[in-house]
């Protein structure tokens, strides 16, 4: 028997004792709270696209030397600017940092530095293993840019809530309950009640099309079938052709070889991917208009 198989049996045994605990781990129900960086919890209303929000202001004014800002500009241009733009207002794939709540709440790098060190790998942001002085310089530049751009309006990547109001809510409702198939998983009076109060504009549209970002959507479920025929369901955090990684009842990650276990993955989000292939633009805007009425 391989080591992996032994661990599996041992773990799944303990899982059975903790089955009642498992569903709670899969769901992040905190409507509030934009978790930003490690340990940084910013209290803010809906999860918004930075570009669609009023520009936040630095909560604690802080000053940096011109030399530090300049050194940071050089580093930022080389390491960050392709995604976040040379002026930090957004680039090929990354958000406008001058409208970032995390930056606004940051005090001399206490939130930015941990984020740079860990990255947001799932969102495509690598970790940066930089010297302290280099991190400090980047922090200085980002704050300087936020100050500098605080006086400007608009934004080159902006999508305003008013831009999106082209759909017909009644048609959207019919699509939602009919051929769209949305009602198979969702309900206007259940999980989606008040959704338009929690998300506005592009944040609502994006979450409607493919839930991501924060708060994170529910994790997929991994259903293990044991030799006895019993099944254990746990949250899946990662998978590939060869392994599955799940959260055990203690909340830590466990990786199993697919060869050693009998596991089935159920990912409700995959229905959204299928739906992306079915929408036409009118239906998309109509469903958005309908969801926008669920305040």
């Amino acid at each position: 028997m391989s080591l992996g198989a032994k661990r599996t049996i041992c773990l799944l045994g303990s899982m059975l004792l903790a089955v009642s605990w498992i569903p709670a781990q899969g769901t992040n129900t905190s409507g509030q709270g934009n978790v930003s960086g490690s340990g940084a919890r910013i209290r803010r209303d809906p999860n918004q696209s930075p570009a669609a929000l009023p520009r936040p202001k630095t909560s604690t004014p802080q000053t940096y030397s011109a030399a530090q800002v300049q050194a940071g500009e050089l580093r930022f241009a080389a390491q960050c600017a392709f995604c976040h733009g040379r002026d930090a207002t957004g680039g090929e794939s990354g958000p406008d940092l001058t409208r970032s709540e995390l930056v606004a709440q940051d005090m001399r790098g206490d939130k930015i530095r941990p984020l740079l060190r860990t990255g947001r790998v799932d969102a495509g942001m690598p970790k940066f293993d930089l010297a302290d002085a280099e991190l400090d310089a980047m922090v200085a530049f980002i704050h300087a840019q936020m100050e500098k751009l605080a006086v400007l309006k608009g934004g080159k990547r902006s999508v305003e809530p008013s831009d999106l109001r082209t759909g017909n809510a009644a048609d959207g409702r019919a699509y939602f309950n009919g051929i769209g198939g949305c009602a198979a998983c969702h309900s206007a009076t259940g999980d989606l009640a008040g959704i338009a109060s929690r998300y506005q504009g592009f944040a609502l549209l994006r979450r409607m099309l493919f839930p991501s970002g924060r708060p994170e959507p529910s994790l997929p479920k991994a259903t293990f079938t044991l030799a006895s025929g019993e099944t254990v369901v746990v949250p899946l955090v990662a998978e590939d052709e060869f392994t599955v990684t799940v959260l055990d009842p203690m909340g830590s990650r466990q990786t199993y070889s697919r060869d050693a276990v009998n596991v089935k993955i159920d990912n409700p989000i995959s229905a959204h991917f299928t739906q992306l292939g079915k929408y036409n633009d009118a239906a998309m805007h109509n469903v958005f208009a309908y969801l926008d009425t669920l305040k």
């Binding site: 570009a51 500009e73 050089l74 241009a77 080389a78 390491q79 600017a81 392709f82 733009g85 040379r86 957004g90 680039g91 090929e92 794939s93 495509g124 690598p126 970790k127 940066f128 293993d129 930089l130 608009g154 080159k156 990547r157 902006s158 999508v159 831009d163 999106l164 109001r165 082209t166 549209l205 994006r206 099309l209 493919f210 991501s212 990662a238 590939d240 052709e241 060869f242 959204h272 991917f273 992306l276 292939g277 929408y279 036409n280 633009d281 998309m284 805007h285």
Partner: protein
């Protein structure tokens, strides 16, 4: 000490060592007809097939591959380059960095580090070698020539103005004494340029502009700039033609600012390497408004098409379509989608997809497949002549695209967001464009290039941490190893009597051999 003194010199290979492997030298005859045991250029050979004739590692024994050595760059920039093997020395790059590595041991021979600069450091594709010189492009658009044995700088020239928004990640293509170097530049309205630099002197021989240079009157492009040639092209010595893919037009999402087809952006162009003159061009995305560069490798093969042996050029393009052209004249033979697409109304009489006006970026957003990351991208495919499969890392993806006049007419000029994607290695039958098999790689866009071998193996990586060997005929997995995310294209060569597989995982380069 000059300003390059921080290039660390550790070892100069001994003359005897060089003599023993001289068959792999990067001189002209070898570049034109590379020996089976070498990997002398970015694509291995001028045809861009990335198909090795080596057969020691084969489906029957690939499961026994073992790690021979591992080279760590000690940096946090992932390796995205294909290394080059010349005379037992590997040349490997990341942005600002070039290493010479002893291919027998994985130990560093010398290392060059370019001074800190403010150009984009998003990736680097590789070096180029000719005779005793190795060439490196830098993010701030220098082309530097080194003595390839000890790393001393021979010359250093500027190929574009990085202050205007150009940067370079390019692995040069060397044809004769021409070092062809391209640049990138999507955030500024700058013309697309490919430069030919004299291999010996560093002097500029010619410049090909895919869009008109500033100050010239040329109505053909419709006012578009862009069309950068940032990937490495291919070359047919019989036709004496270089084939290069060109990038998207700028402003990127604002198509109204640049009416018409915007040639030669999002195109495959055939150039005379001695003059830089355009011989033909084929536009794979007329009037692009989605950032779909046509920089993917124009793969060359002499193969039967519709009953006749022809000089073919194949490209699986970022816009989701697979193109087969007659490379003698650039005429279309086949156009077929290889991934989910919803942006074209059909195919025109020239074989070009016809953009659907309903899928042009709009104020309230349009849902578009593929997304900006594309149906494929910089990761090179491989062509297996035996099966006739072009094997490409493909993505079925969706994005949402916005444009309103407030976004302006400079640089990106719009907003777009990738929503979701799923990746597959797909085997496209070049005769029909049909998918013979696919192998799931995971969510999001892939990053690994592809290598095939004459023994029937396909080597690539998934979207997490695994390098994999598949059976080329049906895509079945035969071997895998978790090494970190593969973001380069694997290569293979023979050294010391053994076939070696080289692939990068994250920031490390791995060598695998049979026991």
């Amino acid at each position: 000490m000059n300003k390059y003194a921080h290039a660390t010199l550790r070892l100069v290979a001994s003359a005897g060592f060089l003599a023993a492997v001289a068959a792999q030298s990067a001189d002209l005859p070898n570049l034109l007809r590379p020996p089976a045991d070498a990997w002398l250029t970015y694509h291995g050979e001028y045809d861009g097939q990335r198909h090795s004739k080596l057969t020691e590692i084969k489906p029957e024994n690939v499961g026994r591959l073992e790690q021979a050595w591992r080279f760590e760059t000690g940096q946090n920039q992932a390796i995205k380059a294909s290394p080059i093997l010349v005379d037992g020395i590997l040349y490997l790059t990341t942005p600002d960095n070039l290493w010479a590595i002893d291919a027998r041991t994985g130990k560093q021979l010398w290392h060059y580090r370019h001074p800190l600069n403010n150009a984009f450091h998003i990736g680097h594709r590789g070096a180029a070698v000719y005779q005793d010189t190795v060439y490196l492009t830098t993010p701030d658009c220098h082309l530097i020539a080194f003595n390839r044995l000890d790393g001393t700088v021979k010359w250093d020239v500027v190929i574009a103005n990085s202050d205007k928004g150009y940067w370079s990640s390019n692995a040069p293509l060397i044809v004769g004494n021409h070092v062809l170097v391209g640049v990138s530049g999507d955030f500024d309205n700058v013309p697309g340029q490919l430069k030919s630099i004299d291999a010996d002197s560093g002097k500029t021989q010619w410049i090909f502009y895919s869009t008109p240079p500033a100050g010239t009157k040329d109505s053909a492009s419709g006012g578009a700039t862009g069309g950068q040639m940032w990937t490495t092209g291919t070359y047919d010595p019989e036709l004496n033609l270089v084939f290069v893919g060109t990038g998207n037009p700028t402003p990127v999402l604002n198509g109204a600012a640049r009416p018409g087809d915007n040639p030669w952006t999002c195109s495959i162009v055939a150039l005379n390497p001695d003059t830089g003159k355009l011989v033909w061009g084929f536009q794979v995305s007329p009037h692009d408004t989605h950032d779909w560069d046509a920089n993917e490798v124009p793969v060359l093969a002499d193969a039967v098409f519709s009953g006749e042996t022809r000089k073919l050029l194949m490209q699986a393009s970022r816009n989701g379509y697979f193109f087969v052209l007659d490379r003698t004249n650039g005429k279309s033979l086949l156009t077929a989608p290889f991934a989910t697409v919803n942006w074209a109304k059909g195919i025109d009489s020239l074989g070009r997809p016809i953009p659907d006006p309903a899928k042009v970026p709009a104020r309230d957003g349009v849902l578009v497949a593929p997304n900006e990351a594309g149906a494929t991208n910089f990761r090179p495919p491989s062509f297996d002549p035996k099966t006739g499969f072009l094997i490409v890392s493909a993505q079925d993806g969706y994005g949402i695209y916005f444009f309103k006049p407030e976004h302006g007419g400079y640089g990106w000029a719009g907003a777009d967001y990738n929503l979701a994607g799923k990746s597959y290695l797909r085997a496209i039958d070049y005769r029909t464009g049909k998918i013979a098999w696919e192998h799931a790689l995971g969510d999001g866009a892939g990053t690994a290039g592809v290598l095939t071998t004459e023994s029937g193996l396909t080597i690539s990586g998934d979207n997490r941490v695994n390098v994999m060997a598949l059976r080329t005929s049906d895509g079945a997995t035969l071997w895998h190893q978790a090494i970190g995310k593969v973001q380069n294209a694997p290569i293979t060569y023979q050294l010391g009597g053994k076939q070696v597989l080289i692939v990068a995982g994250g920031e490390s380069l791995y060598a695998f051999t049979l026991p």
